[in-house]
Symmetry: C3
Subunit: 672 residues, 3 copies
């Protein structure tokens, strides 16, 4: 995409939400626009679920109400993020094309009546989405209200995988293109095992329900195929819009909440990354998961500002217990996103809908109306964001990267792994949380990318690691980097085949160690390790029998099957260092370990309270420190500059109240 | 139905059970009848599962064995409740009409071989049940043994919902009749949300499995439709029988154990309410659930005597752990039913069947034979019931009503509610149990009915409340009633749409409060409330942010997200009072609350041991107090009159032994 | 089968594993064979999953690589167990015969891509397996490498039951053959219950999903049918091979790990019993389950030596947590199998496969290569087994038998039993474990077989017991045997119909007691019993109301519904004694009980540490005591003779190191 589409034509931080006025009468529209102005809204997403109300029959479009809506919004200075409603085709579409329905692996045909995801491989669906996007863009490309295009909604959820005949046919085409020959496929899939050898492309099906576990490489390829098909659908629509329109085009991701799309690949296709994020209510530290989502959104977009397309003002409706946000929590969440690179803070949705599956989802304007805590906080946040106009466009810089590789996640999550206690999400969260508490901002990265900008690279769960990526990591260390690899990494190659030489073989040289055998622990079993300096670090779930070559032993197992054997190793290699951790350390154990690793890497933890989140955004001539106080007590931050929300000059320290937020601008040369 | 069909031609309390002699040879029949006489049996239900043995091929009937059986029973003075076996069509029916099989929401076709429920919307099934009922009634309408007709068996279980093509077609017809226009349906269902707008009736299907949550109003209407279809099937049979026969017609409900049929509507269609009840063995106080079932059976029948059509002499067979009844428990259960209005005490079944799915279900005559505790207790109970002949026809009067509304239950039980901890069953049981322990007999009622006869009306879980019903409750209070509303009530209207103005809006005036936001708690979190008088009441699961208008605050949150805010309110309105409770009080908390509520309502708890159950039935010139001692200790009841089971005159107090029962008759004017 | 096929042409104990070289290049084959020789391998199983690589299209066979492989193995002195790969038909087979796919009870069609089990009743499948077996045997019957034939793989797993149209048609044929008339079927199935009467064979289907619980006798017959169909498939292949070949023919069972095949019937069809066994990792005493499997394998083979066809060198891959074996554990497992009659110790598999569903399954040659604990132990075990050549052919003799009856298990495991706490596996393990700890070797037996050789027969869970088998047990006691029957036995006959006279009626005379009523306990409830001598024995889950006739009461309930009533009884009958235990005793309780029972039976527990496993194999002129020390401490065994693994003469005692093994040969006359 080229520069003209770089950012919506908006002033300052975008603020608003999904707006679904088709559920309401015209008098409500007028009230809505008035209240939006009161709340400081400058951008709304429109038309996300409006297919049936626009294309009322195949090829028959009625834009009357949308024309009217866009005029009303434009007249009131509210810009529009115009959506294509292709996540939910109309009833008439499925009636005309019953073969376009998604079929799950058990053979169940997904009916109409919820969000009506169609088969991503159905020719009729592809034709229909092109027609809609083309028609919509032709009509509104020049509309002054439209500043952004919003294709589809949350690709990959609620369903991604499809086992319909259209999907199976497309899967065969995709496989033939990938492998060229059946020999290639048979070799990659290891079909000699369990007698799965193929002699005809037509014999290959999607990995439906079967008597036992389905070929893991087939399943891994099916995950890749699913991601590819969804992205092809996006590209159909994007290109249809681009043929008419110059505004930037996005689709909303679900970073750290859905794993079915390879966001690195998607990040290359969109003009602007946008993301939906919802707190996981059962997690009392859900703001850390939120931070992961924000850092990942920034990372897959190459570090550029992005848009928080959806979050919630208070509770959602689809979790087991939907906890309402506490006073100030919505502002804290918003500022965390902003601090980590978001230049737009939007919600699902503007006005709570009376009907349907999401009536208990909070909104900017709740069922309780304007006389409510939520609407008062929404208005206050809108005013705050207007005070941060100058932050727009500034960027985040990180010295540490955590590897995040969707292909590896897809592979690891297949069946019949050594223990069900293995979880890449859990380990990534554990290492990330340690960095978060230490006040160290990090990026996410791919194992094959240029990592030289980072002092420290952490691989919490890189189960699948290609030989080429292993070489890249080796070069990174040899060039002076510090690499920390956690257990059950570098186990398989791109075909989910164990590396020749065994587990960890591709990293044997850089880490100075390899893995003779996995030693998962029984349920509930704990087994600490002891460091060289005599400290005992808590651990559980997993041990490995290591074969140490050139590494030094940093810690040794005190309990469990590997008692007395090496648990954590450190290897000097070239200009850098490679660490290997073969067990699941608990939080205190990680704290002790990372102190040593930071020292190797030359990374300095912040000297601040653990619950005081400080992230820095860099502009050409200033830095902005976004400060979020998650504690129940006030916190003092040493700072010189100006606090933008209160308009206060700061000469020494700034006190952020319990639960409060601040944004402190300092000159570029005086960041502390 | 008219007076001639008011009650079976029987003397005194009906006693007996299901009798399935088709499983046994003729010599067993003769032994059965002899033992029935020994046990005091005067009524048996016959033919409930006999379709295949009567209609041996389509339209070919062979009544030989049934003729013989009815003669044998009649000759021995045992009356017959004659069943239509339409709950379980024959194998030949499904072979001829495979399209009449039920299909579940996942598309699974329900096979033959268990209880063979057919599609309630299949024309072939409807034709077959008419033919059977018509033929049976024509043959036996004048038979002197037949005193009652028993249509079908437990409508709605084991399956109610049907997603077959016949059901889908009928659903469309039902919807078109209900809504008239698609505009009406689209509006009621809120189809603008998630792009579900319909343009053709033919595009509408039953709510089958879909990619995400299906439209809740569609599901609510489908529940209504299912209930309607089942009732239509009943009416087909009832009218076919009535064309020939004068005896009363019933079908056996499953009050408080199945929620798929709207028993209020069914109560209007049957001549006599009959009910099946089985203890939930895991519940050590299962007799309280039993009491709910009995009170509900009486209530849906408009207060008239009803028949306990099935219960068990000891264990059932379909629960995780089927606990046998202890000595005396069967008699206690029976007397509780009788006390709450049952004039018939029947069992499933007379003789334990050797084969099939229910062989481990207890019976009046167990596998162990006559030399058994169970048969001895059966015989003793038969003798006891004969001593209660004069109780037959007396009625129960209640000052308190609990709202019980199937439509509200159907709506609340849909997906994506604020927390999975919400349970209407739990709250109804909690309030009912408080009344039970306080010795206060209650009716169940609908929110839209005339409530003026009650001093106190409790709404433990009235999630769906129409504006009209809210007005009825308001008028009830204004006229002097006391209304207690528990949380998550008056949330939605008849279309599962949130009330304009927000949660509780329709009751805002009568309660003097409304709900700004739901505040569900995390799993395991408790959060007590403090009353004005300083008492701390235990609570958990749920809080609400209240906006108090005219109400006074009775209790305030001490913990949790609403700390310091109102939790329980009391509002004087007209001549009456409206209470609102916004959290889940524990048993002790309810006790404290209800003391205050009783005082407002002028309701007096009984001054008796909590485990001593006393229910009063009223005849023209006498009252009967049915007394059940659930305690392990004897209990003394102040009474004057005559204890009917022992034939003892009571002049001051009567001592009911631990685990025992008594029935004390007093003159109408001396009820204490 | 005749003597010529009695045992593979091998010297000493067979040692090796599954060998799947089709996954590897030729240079790996040569390395494999060299390492096999190093490890002492003398037998490998070949071709188990090679269908698609041999029969490359219907009727087109290419044996090139298999020819080459057999030559290579033979040239290196490694014998071959040649497999038919019919457990996993090729993709082309299913493409040509989509109707041969298995369908589960929910109607889901089992797709290709895992282990591709076909419908056992598909004519196309039966034709294909005959063609393959016939062609393979014709080619290799005379090959000098081939010493054993290995038909199929683990019949019954991963799927056994099939609801396809082919299966339904075959089920009807099987039923018609079994019952002759529909009257016979209707009577046996008790179809009068729930209206299931059949009037046409064509109306009968497999027991697919239905609205409620399916007829239990139909399900029991379907289990019998499934076992029968699988065995018919085996016989097709066996007979096709036998037409060409003289070597013994086997198929690998899964004793004590799969219950879908009646191994007693299978034992009669194979020349040699072979078994696959995998530890259940969550069980810290998994070696006791292993012992059950070994004793069962020996028993179903009539006491003859058998082959452990598969076990694992370390972890498997399909359990929730796959625990690696500890040093020495593989040897201990192997010696336990050998001690209990195995004359072959084989593994799945020789070399760990890089790809596919089982890449994390351990192997003789692990991913880590020869420089690994596992390969070193494999090599050591091979050497040890060579030292035990003379043990081959010796047999095990037992004084105690535990009843093990697959038909009874199938019946008991159906739905709607009195409590979900009932488990035949649990009770068998409990009684077996008691014997194991007491050092008493036992056989497994059928209730209808000649039991006169045993001093003691235990029936831990004989729910289904025919009248004829009850008579056999009665005769056994009358002839001097001691019989111990545990609760929920002799409940139903061969049709899952309760015995006339009630529970336990067929054993009433021999036990002097019967069961009036089942009294399952609530979850978590414990209820001890008190013996005559005043000891209190722990118990839970279950009680029964007993009616004692001639028995004496050994213990009485102290708690629970049967408090004060008999719990355990002992009855003198003829020359013997019948014990009945009506509750679930805990381990200590069983210990106390069994002491008394042993005394009755004249069985003497070993006076050895509980963790020291000693099993005796008997040859014509010597006995071999196989000793496995499961403890963490050395153990001393009184012995005179020669320890074969170390070549040590033993004159008084032999010390087995912690975790170690020993095999002590003594002359036949001096077994202690």
């Amino acid at each position: 995409m080229t520069a003209p589409h770089a950012w919506p034509e908006l002033r300052g931080i975008a603020y608003g939400g999904d707006y679904n006025p088709e559920q309401w009468p015209r008098e409500t529209w007028r009230e809505d626009v008035e209240l939006m102005r009161e709340a400081g809204v400058n951008l709304v997403s429109v038309g996300i679920f409006s297919w049936a109300l626009i294309e009322t029959a195949e090829g028959e479009f009625d834009f009357t109400w949308l024309d009217e809506l866009l005029e009303l919004l434009h007249a009131n200075g509210i810009a529009v993020d115009l959506g294509t409603p292709t996540a939910s085709p109309p009833a008439w579409f499925f009636a005309a094309h019953p073969d376009a329905r998604v079929i799950d692996r058990d053979g169940r045909v997904m009916g109409f009546g919820s969000r009506g995801m169609a088969s991503h491989s159905s020719p009729a669906y592809r034709e229909a989405i092109f027609r809609y996007a083309d028609t919509l863009a032709a009509r509104y490309a020049q509309h002054p209200a439209v500043v952004l295009w919003h294709v589809h909604n949350e690709y990959g959820v609620p369903v991604g995988e499809d086992h319909s005949a259209h999907s199976a046919a497309a899967f065969r085409v995709w496989l033939e293109k990938k492998y060229g020959t059946l020999d290639g496929l048979n070799s990659a899939w290891g079909t000699a095992f369990w007698g799965q050898h193929y002699t005809d492309w037509q014999h290959i099906n999607t990995p439906t329900v079967a008597p036992s576990v389905v070929n893991p490489t087939q399943r891994l390829d099916f995950a890749r195929f699913t991601d590819h098909q969804l992205r092809e659908c996006f590209i159909v629509e994007r290109d249809a819009i681009r043929a008419h329109a110059d505004q930037p085009i996005t689709t909303n991701f679900m970073a750290n909440q859905s794993w079915t799309t390879d966001l690195w690949a998607w990040g290359r296709e969109v003009d602007i990354v946008s993301d939906d994020h919802y707190l996981w209510a059962a997690d009392e530290d859900a703001h850390i998961g939120l931070s992961i989502a924000a850092d990942l959104s920034r990372s897959v977009g190459g570090g550029k500002p992005w848009i928080l397309m959806e979050h919630s003002t208070s509770a959602v409706n689809w979790q087991p217990r939907n906890i309402a946000k506490r006073p100030g929590e919505m502002a804290r969440n918003s500022l965390t996103h902003l601090g980590r690179g978001a230049d737009g803070i939007l919600f699902f949705q503007w006005r709570a809908g009376r009907s349907g599956a999401e009536k208990f989802h909070s909104a900017m304007l709740p069922h309780a109306g304007v006389n409510s805590r939520v609407f008062r906080e929404v208005t206050a946040l809108g005013a705050d964001l207007q005070r941060l106009e100058e932050v727009q466009g500034s960027t985040v810089e990180a010295e540490v990267a955590i590897l995040w590789d969707f292909e590896s996640f897809w592979a690891q999550d297949l069946e019949w792994r050594p223990t069900e206690d293995l979880s890449h999400q859990e380990r990534i969260r554990a290492f990330y949380e340690r960095l978060w508490l230490d006040g160290i901002t990090c990026d996410f990265a791919l194992p094959g990318q240029d990592l030289s900008r980072y002092r420290l690279v952490i691989a919490p769960a890189q189960y699948l690691l290609t030989a080429a990526d292993a070489e890249n990591l080796t070069r990174y260390v040899e060039g002076g980097g510090t690499l920390l690899v956690s257990y059950f990494s570098a186990v398989v190659d791109e075909n989910d085949a164990v590396h020749p030489g065994g587990f960890l073989a591709p990293l044997r040289d850089v880490l100075g160690v390899d893995v003779e055998e996995h030693l998962p622990l029984r349920a509930g079993q704990t087994a600490s390790v002891q460091t060289k300096s005599g400290d005992s670090l808590g651990a559980d779930h997993w041990q490995e029998a290591l074969r140490v070559q050139t590494a030094e032993v940093f810690a040794t197992y005190q309990q469990g099957p590997a008692t007395g054997e090496p648990a954590i190793t450190r290897n000097a290699r070239g200009e850098g260092t490679g660490w290997y951790v073969s067990t699941r350390l608990d939080a205190a154990g990680l704290d002790a370990l990372m102190s040593a690793v930071y020292a190797d890497a030359g990374v300095a933890p912040a000297d601040l309270p653990e619950d005081l989140e400080v992230i820095t955004r860099h502009a050409d001539d200033a830095v902005f420190r976004i400060v979020v106080n998650h504690a129940d007590e006030d916190a003092a931050l040493p700072a010189i500059g100006r606090e933008l929300l209160t308009g206060t000059d700061v000469e020494d320290t700034f006190t952020i109240p319990a639960g409060g937020v601040a944004v402190i601008r300092s000159p570029r040369s005086r960041t502390t």
